[in-house]
Symmetry: C2
């Protein structure tokens, strides 16, 4: 009977690796909320803007590959960002299937108000540079393995 105690050990929450990933992700995103509220963005809108602050212009497919999100998630996010005036959504002339997302002047300005956010989150997460690097490497290793 005593080996029954171990038979289901792998099903215990404390022995999961995905659960703390899931919990950690949610808890950090929760920490973003007050800062993102100040610039009226959700976390999903924020990471979308990150891509656009860097690339200026991107189609939905490429954006989805960058963010690991599909058009089912991105379409409403992009429509919302468009309604806020931060991006434009225009079909490509070369290939009408492609929707080209371009950052606006307003969207560029928002970057100034967002630039202080990463350090605030960083001090809250509070890892050493070494730990952060180890974590970063492990996470992308997993993403590579899983996909």
């Amino acid at each position: 009977m005593e080996n029954n105690e171990e038979k289901y050990a792998a099903l215990k929450l404390e022995n999961q690796i995905c659960f703390p990933l899931y919990a950690c992700s949610k808890e950090i995103i929760r920490k973003y909320k007050p800062y993102l509220d100040e610039i009226d963005l959700t976390y999903t809108q924020y990471i979308t803007m990150m891509v656009l602050w860097e690339k200026k212009c991107v189609n939905v497919k490429t954006l989805g590959e960058s963010l690991y999100l599909d058009s089912g998630t991105l379409t409403p996010v992009l429509k919302k960002l468009e309604s806020k005036g931060y991006i434009s959504r225009v079909r490509s002339n070369e290939d009408e299937r492609n929707l080209v997302v371009t950052i606006t002047e307003e969207g560029e300005k928002l970057k100034e108000h967002a630039v202080c956010i990463p350090s605030k989150i960083g001090s809250c997460v509070n890892l050493t540079a070494k730990d952060a690097e180890v974590l970063y490497t492990l996470l992308y290793k997993i993403i590579g393995n899983v996909r």
Copy 2:
């Protein structure tokens, strides 16, 4: 002008620690899907059952503390699990504010069909024992820091 190249470095997706956490969590949960489909559970229902497989009986507040979820998320999940016959939901006699969730015989049986899942996910995530331990420790360190 060249220091402008660095001014916004912290806003690049590649310099985030939360984004790979978020992406990694989602991608692993996606990997669970075919296995969870076989036992007709979603990931949220699965981690809820994990707590119940271990504790048999728990109130919503304690469950929420275990899973980092509130009643707004848990109430519909628990109603769904009840409709599937895996749990019962009964108000506590001692304190009518508390809803006591108890696993049923059917819920116990489900454990047998779930016990093979962790190893399948583990081989897909494919970390060494050492890496998994490092990751685990870092994640719970962050959760501790953030909360």
